[in-house]
Symmetry: C2
Subunit: 361 residues, 2 copies
């Protein structure tokens, strides 16, 4: 009966039917270990032991308890349990938001986690735009709920956690926190060189989040490639894009409105490159005919643009996988805790349709 409902036009809100009056248990108290104990006629401790398969419980008591548990649908509270225990078998990932980068990273992390006994909890932090969220969340979660945490693109890293922490794409290059990142410098160099090879000389750069090491290294790669090609650096060709579509709108417009407009733009990530594409279209510029564009990341969305975006692949999923591996190792082998691993993953240029060779003037 539900599926034949006419759709609400274009995903607008408003529930279009409200037919069944249901008890969805607003008042139901959750069933606790105490309820089970009482019903089974044993003590709480016995139930706990039965649940956790400890020694020293008679088989028939175990059976009785199991029976009651099934009957009542009891499941121990993760919260209460993790308040008491140190170990929870849960790995936490703190992402600054579920954007394409974060989503890809989670896919990789989840895949790596399938081979472990750990479960995955994701905490989306910067949803409401506060900064310093990672420190807050870290102390809110650490020591409880998770056995270790992966921090994604953290802005601050004065980590003082009770449990192991691994950073992906961190604020600083070297640090006391194990980290995973990509060959940002080399990737940016390759991207810029690609444009140079196509004959471009006025190449704009839409920079990333200046608080991230990755963004700084991408800019360094851009400058280095320019210098290597003997192209003098023009500061008006650099604008701060901030890694998101929204924050890239104005700087993209600025770049494309320059009197001496660049013939190509290298954006520090795909999201800002996509915004460049959009702005170009609004300005009546055709890509790649009037403007060549290169991004960085190779998020799935970069293949959906028109034209498909040439970009630098940094296999985001591998970053997630690798972070999980390091973290699991840290959790299972506390003796190795003193060693701080920094892993750098390769990047590679993916040529699609957003660049063209410049005719000689």
């Amino acid at each position: 009966m539900t599926s034949t409902n006419p759709a609400t036009p274009s995903g607008n809100a408003a529930s279009n039917s409200a037919d069944i009056t249901a008890d969805h248990g607003r008042d139901h108290r959750r069933v606790t270990i105490g309820d089970v104990a009482e019903r089974a006629g044993v003590s709480i401790a016995t139930v706990s032991r039965a649940v956790n398969q400890k020694y020293g419980v008679s088989p028939k008591t175990v059976d009785k308890v199991r029976e009651v548990i099934d009957e009542l649908g009891y499941e121990s509270s993760l919260v209460a349990r993790s308040l008491r225990n140190t170990r929870t078998n849960v790995i936490g990932i703190l992402v600054p938001g579920i954007d394409p980068f974060g989503a890809e990273l989670l896919k990789g992390a989840a895949r790596a986690m399938q081979e472990t006994d750990f479960e995955l909890v994701v905490y989306a932090g910067g949803l409401h735009g506060e900064s310093g969220w990672e420190r807050r969340y870290l102390s809110r979660l650490s020591g409880t709920l998770t056995d270790g945490i992966i921090l994604v693109a953290p802005t601050v890293l004065e980590v003082d956690a009770t449990h192991p922490v691994v950073a992906v794409d961190p604020h600083l290059g070297a640090s006391t926190v194990p980290s995973v990142d990509s060959q940002n410098f080399e990737g940016a160099q390759a991207a810029t060189r690609h444009l140079l090879d196509l004959g471009h000389r006025r190449i704009g750069f839409l920079a990333g989040r200046s608080d991230l090491e990755s963004a700084r290294r991408r800019e360094a790669g851009y400058r280095s490639a320019l210098a290597d090609a003997g192209v003098s650096f023009d500061p008006t060709l650099i604008q701060a894009g901030g890694f998101t579509e929204e924050t890239s709108e104005v700087p993209a417009l600025t770049l494309l409105s320059l009197a001496d407009r660049p013939t190509a733009i290298f954006a520090a990530n795909d999201l800002s490159a996509i915004q460049v594409l959009r702005t170009a279209t609004q300005l009546g510029l055709s890509v790649p005919d009037d403007l060549s564009v290169v991004g960085f990341d190779n998020i799935p969305e970069s293949a959906m643009t028109d034209p498909p975006l040439t970009t630098v692949d940094q296999s985001i999923q591998s970053l997630g996988e690798e972070a999980v591996r390091i973290l699991v190792d840290l959790i299972e082998r506390p003796d190795r805790a003193g060693r701080v691993a920094h892993t750098t993953l390769p990047t590679s240029l993916v040529v699609r349709k957003s660049c063209r060779r410049l005719e000689q003037p």
Copy 2:
């Protein structure tokens, strides 16, 4: 120093440097409300009141406490707090894994959540392949940690939670649980009709997860379109694909190895369509020349295939947004709790390059 490290070849494990011996606080006890109280020379209760901005604390005590909190870097434990309180201001999403569908849904949910005061916790459930995980997790989390939960593609729905629950793409059509889904029937009809219009008559169907209403309705749409066109239904042309690439491998091969091979295949989701593409290539079949393929979902990955996949868009992100809206409404207005909303979002055909018109025989 880290970034100049050579990369480990192709994302292989192995940390390639372990240079800094760091104290990352393995032994640090977490700083608790007690530590703050002691340092500030007040009682725990006072600190709690100061933190939660309750009345009845003198301004100078508040200042003193704030000062110590900053100094010690104290942050109240979410776990301890949620054990005591009912309200946590956290919404939980239970996904069966972080696959492209789950990831898209999270993007939409996160976006909708920006406009609320809630924070987002994602729990990835079926990572280790157990079934019935949603019931387990629901009772493990509900009543604590979250104020409400969104269940994605749940297999069972005997929900007996202490807090509101919304289901996305649920097991059953109508139920006592508020739900959000897409026009699965209509979308599948449109996809099949598209193939029919192109002249195809032998159209294979790679079915989805049979425990999901959405999968059943997509099959119904396929059959209905066939019937409308007067094409007799051939049961050998239907294989169960199970919505994942792995589980689609054998059935795709079966379909494509048929003596009277179908000229087109409609797969119940993009992941299985992508597997059809792959299998076709392995068999030396060219898409769309030898075989036309249509998927369902329009995940970003569907644009990255070669050729780009024609598919049915169900705006997965909107499903997530809508689920958040319904859930927030349920949490904030408990009085409306009796009403069970079922929202259905529209689907539309996205024509790309994986289908071709069949010449008349």
